[in-house]
């Protein structure tokens, strides 16, 4: 199963909005904004984000893959999910 980049970003953004940005009604989250740097999630929150991504997109994140490179921004998450989905398909 492949999910388009824009759809991954939209669904993750909605999830973040609903669960981590509900206290900031006017917060604009850019695709490349650092989730930690911008205060969107704290380090506890990343676990919740990963659980959502795994369930939503049917991918598994290994312990060593939980990194800034793969989960640091919406773009990074979209790239990670797309790569994982392509591996599953292949």
């Amino acid at each position: 199963m492949h999910t388009s980049r824009s759809e991954i970003i939209a669904r993750v953004r909605d999830f973040l909005q609903e669960n981590f940005l509900y206290m900031h009604t006017n917060f604009q989250l850019g695709d490349d904004d650092g989730l930690l740097d911008k205060g969107v999630i704290d380090s506890m929150g990343i676990v919740e984000v990963i659980s959502f991504i795994e369930a939503e997109f049917g991918v598994q994140a290994l312990e060593e893959e939980v990194s800034q490179q793969n989960f640091g921004s919406l773009s990074a998450i979209a790239r990670f999910v797309a790569e994982k989905q392509s591996l599953v398909t292949a």
């Binding site: 669960n19 509900y22 206290m23 900031h24 009604t25 930690l36 740097d37 205060g39 704290d42 380090s43 506890m44 929150g45 990343i46 676990v47 919740e48 990963i50 994140a61 312990e63 939980v66 990194s67 800034q68 989960f71």
Partner: protein, 656 residues
């Protein structure tokens, strides 16, 4: 231990005994064993007594020989027998056996220099009728509280803010900056409180009030004159100070008990108390039904080792939620953690067991660098020397195995710790905590936020640091910040004095003997924190009194259940009422929309992080605090003058 309160008029218009009676009534929990008044033209004092020393003769307020010095005092002066002998040698005649009288004669003899001679925990007011001054003071580390307010030239003081408000002459209102400090440091930084116009006398400070003007001066400064090497007899010196400190704190005319947390510090104080006590020691612990917080096995082991008669207060989520409103009433401040609640129940158990005085281990972590925060600052500095070294960053996993060892957010935590400020920032050690704490501010209402303007409480803290701070090592800087921002205004207050005194229990803290502080502050930091081994010299010395299993136990941070307590099936109804959008809007500190989202997350069991837990406890406690103190202040029925064990009125009698 007692409660004190008073009013000082700028003009001799009189102080009504009804006002003093209301003040006394509001803090009667601090002293249920009796009360007394001094009623004068300019000055009125109220005192509620918890009788511990000289049960029959220690009633207050108390005067000197000629009635010109009137003392209103809360606390313990542990070296009172020594000071008494010294004063008697100078011709002073004592009428009681109580430590209170030391203040009357000591003030006559030494004036304000009396403070340097006191070893103890105290807050007091002394009215000098000759000079027409009132002298107020608080102990070195801020164990005992003293609040004050000035209104139209009159001065009000008390052990608790509720006594000042009980006069009806000072109206409670919210101090935005005080709240902003709470949501950064966990407590407002003295002299600030969450109440506008009501101040906390800073630890180690005294004030002289004359003609309506208050002149403040600090008499004790924390200093860290770190030596390059340990003294050769470091263990002998520590032994002498510890034994003397505990011995002095066992001086009482009632049995002294001990709190046992299961950790090193309270094991030391309880062990020494058991050895020095003339009766079988009673010890008390908190247990949790949630195994993440529970240390009951360690506690039982300590109790068995020292041979104490041990009792436990069992805490579950229901007991946290149900007693939270009373805890806020006693703490008099919004809180960001529920950790005060178990201390409230522990004090109740202690008092119900017939014990009025307990020794506890507070202060050891600050003196001997016991908290993880001190290790954290060392690891952060070490990593920032070579920020790309993953091996160095793995030290965080050892430091916080529960966060980083098995969790999936490890790299994010490491990044957080490494991104939280640079070593050149004087607040470097505490920025991770301050930044995490401040996440609750995300929930502020826009108008509350805009009302704060450009306030930057971190910048204010930086600006308040003494010049000598910049000459200390980074660990001593961290220790100073811990002592001044957390120990006194939060741990000794919201979790300490207030919770114990809610049930008329006096806490005594052998580690907060100023001789011990000065001894520890002069040691090389490596004697206190060696690598990642905390309290190193204390553990070395403790081998004399504790078995290895207790001595070497790794510290478990003291925590209590937070958000989950308020959303279970048995959650009390007030939670919903106080979190309703109109209630949140009325108080105006938090955004109703943000709070609604927070409730949704809490109900779904998703609020597991620091931000939401602290925010939930912060919102609930702010709502409760505002309701009890500002929106619906209760009126006090005055304690009747007929029931007073002491009533002194002007003109005063003279003593032969």
């Amino acid at each position: 231990m007692c409660g004190i309160a008073g009013i000082v008029r700028r003009l001799p218009s009189g102080v009504s005994v009804e006002s003093l009676g209301r003040m006394a009534a509001s803090i009667q929990h601090r002293g249920p064993d009796g009360y007394g008044f001094f009623v004068g033209q300019r000055v009125g004092f109220a005192h509620v007594r918890l009788s511990i020393v000289d049960i029959d003769g220690g009633a207050q307020p108390l005067t000197n020989e000629d009635g010109q010095i009137i003392v209103n005092y809360n606390g313990e002066i542990y070296n009172h027998p020594e000071l008494r002998r010294e004063l008697e040698g100078k011709g002073h005649i004592f009428r009681t056996l109580c430590d209170t009288e030391i203040l009357a004669h000591g003030y006559e003899e030494w004036g304000v220099n009396l403070l340097g001679k006191l070893n103890g925990q105290f807050a007091f007011a002394i009215y000098d009728r000759n000079r027409e001054t009132v002298f107020v003071a608080r102990d070195r580390f801020g164990v005992r509280p003293l609040f004050y307010a000035q209104s139209r030239g009159d001065f009000y003081f008390a052990s608790e803010i509720k006594a000042i408000l009980a006069t009806g002459e000072v109206v409670a209102s919210l101090d935005r900056r005080g709240l902003d400090e709470i949501f950064t440091f966990w407590a407002a930084r003295p002299p600030r409180t969450p109440f506008a116009g009501i101040a906390s006398l800073e630890p180690g400070t005294y004030g002289i009030l004359k003609d309506g003007a208050l002149w403040l001066r600090r008499y004790y400064e924390l200093d860290y004159p770190e030596e390059a090497a340990e003294p050769e007899d470091v263990i002998e010196q520590l032994d002498e100070i510890m034994l003397r400190s505990v011995g002095m704190r066992l001086r009482a005319d009632v049995p002294v008990g001990a709190y046992v947390s299961g950790g090193l510090d309270s094991s030391i104080t309880a062990s020494l108390a058991a050895r020095g006590s003339p009766h079988a020691l009673r010890s008390f612990s908190i247990t949790f039904d949630d195994s993440r917080f529970d240390e009951s096995e360690s506690q039982r082991e300590v109790a068995a080792d020292i041979g104490s008669i041990h009792s436990v207060a069992a805490i579950d989520q229901g007991s946290v939620a149900n007693s939270f409103p009373e805890v806020i009433w006693h703490a008099e401040t919004p809180l960001v953690r529920t950790a005060a609640v178990p201390m409230y129940h522990l004090a109740k158990l202690t008092r119900d067991s017939g014990i009025k005085v307990v020794l506890t281990g507070e202060g050891a972590d600050e003196l001997f660098l016991g908290y993880d925060l001190f290790k954290e600052v060392s690891v952060r500095r070490f990593c920032l020397h070579r920020p790309t070294s993953l091996g160095r960053q793995r030290l965080f996993d050892r430091l916080y195995p529960e966060l980083l060892g098995e969790g999936r957010g490890g790299e994010f935590w490491r990044r957080f710790f490494l991104g939280a400020g640079t070593p050149s920032d004087p607040l470097f050690s505490h920025l991770p905590r301050f930044l995490l704490g401040a996440r609750a501010k995300d929930f502020y209402a826009p108008q509350f936020k805009s009302g704060l303007g450009e306030v930057d409480v971190l910048a204010e803290l930086r600006g308040s640091l003494p010049v000598r701070f910049f000459g200390w090592s980074s660990l001593n800087q961290a220790a100073y910040l811990e002592m001044t921002t957390l120990l006194s205004p939060y741990l000794l207050s919201s979790q300490g004095d207030r919770m114990a005194m809610a049930h008329s229990v006096e806490g005594r803290f052998p580690f907060l003997d100023h001789r011990l502080f000065e001894f520890a502050a002069a040691l090389p930091t490596g004697s206190r924190l060696r690598g990642l081994r905390e309290k190193e010299v204390l553990r070395r010395w403790a081998s004399r009194i504790l078995p290895p299993r207790i001595r070497e136990r790794r510290k478990q941070p003291y925590r209590a259940p937070d958000a989950t307590s308020f959303f279970g099936p048995n959650a009390p109804a007030w939670v919903v009422d106080h979190l309703a959008s109109d209630a949140v809007r009325r108080v105006g500190v938090f955004s109703p929309t943000a709070v609604a989202g927070l409730i949704r997350r809490c109900r779904a069991g998703l609020a597991t992080g620091f931000r939401e837990n602290q925010a939930l406890v912060g919102v609930l406690s702010t709502q409760l605090w505002y309701d009890r103190f500002i929106e619906h202040p209760s009126s006090q029925t005055p304690l009747p003058v007929q029931g007073a064990s002491v009533l002194i009125t002007e003109p005063l009698p003279t003593f032969a």
